[in-house]
Subunit: 454 residues, 2 copies
Amino acid sequence: MSKQKRYFLTEQEIPTEWYNIQADMVNKPLPPLNPATKKPLSPEDLYPIFAEELSRQELNQVDPWIHIPEPVRDMYKYYRSTPLVRAYGLEEAIGTPAHIYFKNESVSPVGSHKLNSAIAQAYYNKMQGVTNITTETGAGQWGAALSYAAKVFGLECAVYQVKISYNQKPYRRSIMQTFGATVEASPSMSTRAGKDIITRDPMNQGSLGTAISEAIELAMNTPNCKYTLGSVLSHVTLHQTIIGLEAEKQMEMAGEYPDIVIACFGGGSNFGGISFPFMRHNIKDGKHTRFIAAEPSSCPKLTRGQFQYDFGDEAGYTPLLPMFTLGHNFMPANIHAGGLRYHGAGVIVSQLLKDGMMEAMDIKQLESFDAGVLFARAEGIIPAPESCHAIAATIREANRCKETGEEKVILFNLSGHGLIDMTAYDQYLAGNLQNYEVTDEDVSSNLSQIEKII
Amino acid sequence: MSKQKRYFLTEQEIPTEWYNIQADMVNKPLPPLNPATKKPLSPEDLYPIFAEELSRQELNQVDPWIHIPEPVRDMYKYYRSTPLVRAYGLEEAIGTPAHIYFKNESVSPVGSHKLNSAIAQAYYNKMQGVTNITTETGAGQWGAALSYAAKVFGLECAVYQVKISYNQKPYRRSIMQTFGATVEASPSMSTRAGKDIITRDPMNQGSLGTAISEAIELAMNTPNCKYTLGSVLSHVTLHQTIIGLEAEKQMEMAGEYPDIVIACFGGGSNFGGISFPFMRHNIKDGKHTRFIAAEPSSCPKLTRGQFQYDFGDEAGYTPLLPMFTLGHNFMPANIHAGGLRYHGAGVIVSQLLKDGMMEAMDIKQLESFDAGVLFARAEGIIPAPESCHAIAATIREANRCKETGEEKVILFNLSGHGLIDMTAYDQYLAGNLQNYEVTDEDVSSNLSQIEKII
């Protein structure tokens, strides 16, 4: 009799609440600060930029469960539950006794997990009477998700896409435009923040930090317009916990519980999304699952960054956030995993890493694509360059099990597919990709150039 | 209470047999003929080109149910059942009282329905001891599917991709290479058939007919190598009936039965795949479902072609097939729906059309993309240019229901997603796409240039 490969929930079983780990954390994240006064922010301080409900979610350290509004859960049903898949093909290719599972978020209509928060953010903005939303995007996965979510709720949407990705991944721009959004390459000449950078450095290829500055600036200068963010912030991670909450039920259907949970790491929402529902059992029920964030060696905020207050964007428009950072002026190398090219980590993850509740692993670009191609040939799904980092970390752990003979249960999040990133695979197969590394000295030198804020 | 949107089967409920409509047809398809002797072919005559079991399936007019081998069904479980989706968003966008459902084959790892037959064909070849397989591909969906299926069963795979698609859709080439296949643009200089065409017409952009000739020639000249085909043939359509058989169970879960079933039409396997399981109830149980094949106006074999014996490929390597054809020398316009650029229709569909068991509708390129963008904005999924034809036909029928007030149940097959076809959407959004039409005179003139074979 053949073994079951995929596990689904019925529409009724889809979770009705998101999990807010802040309420259960022993050491709460430090508060974001107003850069002018250095005073802790209240939700009201965020209202000029974000929808009110999202501002409240951002700073909520009290309620562990947040109700998912019915129209949001209703939209989830078009693609959720996403499958939990037992990766028999990958296990065989590695020759490991480990049991490898992945949560396949690539089956969402826009091809990644980003839609989970995009729908929620578009909904809360719409409910408040907002008519226009702005955002930044790296590889374009968040931008594509928000463009579609905006269309669903009848909002206008403007996206600043990091220039290197705008040029490397033209298909994602077309996808956003097909969904009806306006897309500009960042840095652009349409904002002060963009103009400043282009003036200093005309060949600047952009970064998420810069694109965020531009999107915030547009939101602040446009009537009835709010800004939205695709990762980093606590409310984004909150929405992504739908991944881990589903996975928890699905692992139960498979009769297993993960020893290790792995996700790639850009700002932290996909990592937190799959990890936090399981981490609550480490906090409350004495479980000992390991949580591994896989980040690129070229942008190693968790493995080489410093924990300090810093801005979330290049121009310094955001509140000051207590986080592991490479400095908001950090300009990452032009790796293909555009979604991981961000200088800082969300405040929740930063606190958890400081407290030893999780680990971080840095992965070089070539190792990430070695892993991605192995996975593609074993499982038939071409992973996003971002997700390749999670697969590389999974393979490292599975190889360790091969050495020790341990049948560990490893769960990773396949955050998206790589069908729009085939130029990256082309270059990899042609031997034209290279590794980029950032040393501790690079980081110290970079951080010394920014004003020590607090 | 919110209405259910998607219907799935459990792994146990996935069909265990394919449906062979040939056994139930009142008028059987005429036999394929040996071009030299003009005698009807036996399965043995096909063995030099195809795996033996596939050759037997091709000509089987006796058994209505063919057992799906366990290793094939086991691979199906990685992505099947595919969801049956109620398209509430599209219904609302049209304002129709019709109930629109689609079978979402785009969720397969390679992004289309093609994997259903690729897995079966690779398996039967492997079982017979074949080591290398060849094929042709248009847009690249079949080539991508076969490349992955070959990797699963440890076969070498060589693909001839129609030159226009090779250049328009470079990402699909990369996908095939990522799965480990060799890809050549067709016409190529590596075969006599390719060289002949390039000599006559150096700028020739290729067609499925030419690519088939090249792949067959390579298979015939390579030891332990067989040819495989992604559509047209009866055994390919047989494997695709998994779509309709699943849909039948899923429609039952939704408490409905289709009044109209629609699919786009290239060679017929996706159309037959979703239609034939329902058509058996027209044949045997007095149902009156309409079946509509949506083909491009630029390649209208069903609506303007003639029923006669013709070759399946440009060079004349295949048996003579009794089919609706534009002539095997027909060179279709360079539309983006590369998978529909084929001169003929499979023998089963040709007989059914002749017998009035189904209808055909021709769709112009601009109407197909109008429909695709409407669907993308309403449902979040960007459809393949081929699938846009099915959506356009669906919208026509749904508009008719809007006029009459009828709550008809329409089911269409979303054969694949269009994420690799974004250049086509780019050109559409920029107003740079055009319509191509073929007149009855064009067809007569074209058919008069080929020898009347029988």
